[in-house]
Symmetry: C2
Subunit: 281 residues, 2 copies
């Protein structure tokens, strides 16, 4: 489940978050209260949450304090945390990002760190190495942007021969080759959008043992049935994200908002279980 | 001048920042004290500062509060602020990043926002549009990663025909075409590393009216003499960044640290003035 705290879409009881006179700290408090409520509603239905850093950063340092608290709350509920930060920079700077999200500075609360983060490959292998070192040090994971879910992702990613996406996919396999776990999957994953079904099959073929993070399901238009080719054997190797579909669900029967979130999460799980009964969950 | 607060390199009097028993808040206080000291030492010598977000993020919410305070201090000293955040995400998320750094949420202190930020083009035009909207709304600027300064930047950026860098350069010209100011330069700039002198000339030819942000001078190996082709007429259209060379200068005469920073900044300005006397500054 993605955690994209867009104040304008919060349930009615969080009107304070939208009050033009509210302070930033008050809004951040409402974000925490809403997201921890969502965690309580669905924590037994999903394996991981993916907080989207941008929405927290929009609330400045108050938002980043909230980010830390929400991550701690997710860990307290035994959820894995995939920090959607999409960072990427030259080596010395990448090392600081890896410390910020994966390994932690001396004295930091490890419960506020992420189990995995998303990263951007534009700068090349030397910009990825500090993150690989952090994976080894902290037993953490990465999801590298390969083919993103947005409509315009082909503009650069599908150009060239081999395409940029294919080049990055090849690098992802290489980067993860020394970080393969018991199940045969590596700690270096790939972000591949649910909105490009043909690409999913093509990229799974090129990255057979790479875990996929699949955004774009639901609100962005991706359908469960289209996603089967993204998985490996026994429906392993893929994690599908839904953010808006669970956080801000259609609620025609006017259920209490937590019940509506839980119903939406259950409906998503059921949709995937129908693809291969007993295997997904 | 880049603001890359690497605690391990701070002057001796900031030993507390490196104390393993110091809290994160204490370290962040030292970062603020050091960087505001540097601003005091060089503010009349440089036009802009480029805080590197990663080093602040490594200190969590305390670091982000420090980021806001240092940006406010830079604005109080009439410096432009280029936030080196290298963000890039799908449209709805990019809008949240643009709000975080350029336009600001309702009630936020505008002095803590950036005048421009760096962004990553991997996701394509639809991921850039929210930042272009922010430029129009807030009279802000962007520097898009085109050819980065790291040694491995060719791995993806120099592949394809046209190369990825050339495709992005063409897009940068297009993205900025409606945002051209009085001097003929657009608000959409390009990051082009000082470490690739031939690329600088080639990319200047392809982006004649695009402002260049040129990292990699000094500590990363770029030389002033190699950078002349990066500029437009009258040595306009380019801003060269030095971070470690000014913040953590060689100090053989054991000057007080602020004097050493000032001397390093003066030496950099002199090196560029020597290229075309009277034009650079």
């Amino acid at each position: 489940m993605g955690l994209d705290p867009d104040l304008q879409r919060f349930p009615a009881e969080f009107a304070a978050a939208r009050d033009p006179l509210a302070t930033r700290a008050e809004r951040a408090q409402d974000v925490e209260r809403f997201l921890v409520g969502v965690l309580d509603a669905v924590h037994d239905l999903v394996p991981a949450v993916k907080p989207q850093s941008a929405y927290f950063e929009a609330l400045g340092s108050d938002g980043v304090r909230c980010w830390e608290r929400v991550i701690r709350a997710a860990h307290e509920r035994n959820l894995l945390v995939i920090g959607d930060v999409k960072r990427g920079d030259i080596g010395s700077t990448a090392a600081a990002y890896a410390q910020a999200y994966l390994t932690g500075m001396e004295g930091c609360d490890p419960a506020t760190l992420c189990d995995a983060i998303t990263i951007n490959p534009y700068l090349g292998t030397d910009s990825i190495e500090p993150f690989l070192a952090a994976c080894r040090q902290a037993d953490a994971g990465l999801y590298v942007l390969v083919r993103t879910s947005n409509l315009g992702s082909a503009e650069f990613q599908a150009q060239g021969d081999p395409t940029l996406s294919d080049r990055v996919a090849e690098a992802v396999v290489r980067w993860g080759s020394e970080l393969v776990g018991e199940c045969g999957y590596s700690s270096v994953g790939a972000v591949v959008g649910a909105t490009h079904p043909r690409e999913l099959a093509h990229l799974r073929e090129r990255m057979p043992k790479v875990p996929f993070l699949i955004p774009g399901y639901g609100a962005q238009g991706g359908q469960a049935g289209d996603l089967a080719p993204a998985f490996g054997e026994h429906f392993a190797g893929g994690i599908v994200n839904s953010s808006r579909g669970i956080l801000y669900p259609q609620n025609p029967n006017n259920l209490p908002w937590k019940d509506a979130c839980r119903a939406a999460a259950k409906a998503m799980v059921a949709e995937f279980q129908a693809l291969q009964p007993g295997r997904v969950g």
